[in-house]
Symmetry: C2
Subunit: 267 residues, 2 copies
Amino acid sequence: VHIEDRGYQFADGVYEVCEVLKGQLVDAPRHFDRLARSLSELQMKWPMRRPILEQLAREVVRRNRIFEGYVYLQVTRGVARRDHVFPAKDTPSSVVITARYSNRNAAQKTAQQGICVITVPDERWTRVDIKTIGLLPNVLARQKAKEQGAKEAWLLDQAGCITEGAATNAWIITQAGVVVTRFAEQGILRGVTRTTLLEALADLGLKFEERAFTLAEALQAREAFITGATTLVMPVVRINQQSVGDGKSGEYTLKLREKFHNYAHKQ
Amino acid sequence: VHIEDRGYQFADGVYEVCEVLKGQLVDAPRHFDRLARSLSELQMKWPMRRPILEQLAREVVRRNRIFEGYVYLQVTRGVARRDHVFPAKDTPSSVVITARYSNRNAAQKTAQQGICVITVPDERWTRVDIKTIGLLPNVLARQKAKEQGAKEAWLLDQAGCITEGAATNAWIITQAGVVVTRFAEQGILRGVTRTTLLEALADLGLKFEERAFTLAEALQAREAFITGATTLVMPVVRINQQSVGDGKSGEYTLKLREKFHNYAHKQ
């Protein structure tokens, strides 16, 4: 990477992380759709035609012999003499694609135990609906979580509602059995796993609501969980050191985790 | 730069831009003090002892034979397998130092004519007091300015007050002759040029106030200007297509520009 890559000097770039299962990309169409939206919102071009980029991602998975894991894809506005304004239109964007193995059994064990989350104020910029590489606020939130023995930080808006996690979407299941996650119109990134899970919920006939929920409501919930391309559906058993429900991985949550891949697109 | 440099994947880094005049660094102690603060706020280490880094910056200036221009210095949290949480403590940080010539005569001509600014909503994260490389909101604001024929975008907070420019601090001189710039406690980056200029104002016996000012107040001002290490003191003659004062570079502003280097530290 060049030292004057705009990704390195300005965080002027976007990315996607896509799960790999049995050597195939999971929910690739949705990930590339979202990449298209990110690029478009920032007036960035595709570094190459979309089908070629998709093919390249699969090739990186294949050559690295990744059977289970994920692929990381990053596009920046390219290399140019440092200047805030966009470079000349013919500046080629920079692409990085990497693939990595991840241990599904270890993740499954974690899911059985459930994870702890903490809450921190949401200090990010207003355009968190774009999946940019400007992740420092997320880094700081995750680091704080780690220092407090937690795996994820949930971000609180000024109204005391949870927006999302530092790198995942946040969900609760109320005592009445309603699955709740924040609407995606603003304030959060529209997670691909989130979207697929919402479809699964509808198909399974489970009640769900897309709306904001408060920390207090989360602490009173029957179950809680997070979703993301690398975590899938991951039970939350403690929030700020307080147990959620009976303090064990939620029954519904584990079922949703189990069934998730029935609803995801693989190719 | 490695593709897994945390500066490239997370904007997990900080930077400084320091003016070079007659081959010497301008206000270097303040720039390195601020770098120290940025590093400390993000729990990052110095990549090497501070005097060595300062020496290195001077060496880059010397070897590139930069007589007039600026030096750019960036420090990131180093290279590590992608994970939001901080890497192991012994991970070396990455350093980039570049020096570049800039044309003082061209800048002086621009100053005589004055520049146009536009206003856009301030959409940045809450910790803009840290000089991080997460500059995408600034990039987008500057780009919007360029598209509207302006050189800088002033950022408006929710109260309708101007926080600062995309890459400079914002100032007005009221009809009563009081120089006004926003307090630096929060919401803006404490500019080195800003700090030096405040000292100059005190020394010159000019009245000044550190307080928020609204767009309406700016439009009624006698003069307006921006400050930054590369722009120095630069008159603003139009805001959102409306003239400031008589629409020409302000008399006081040009005097402050002229006298600025008397107050800056050179070495």
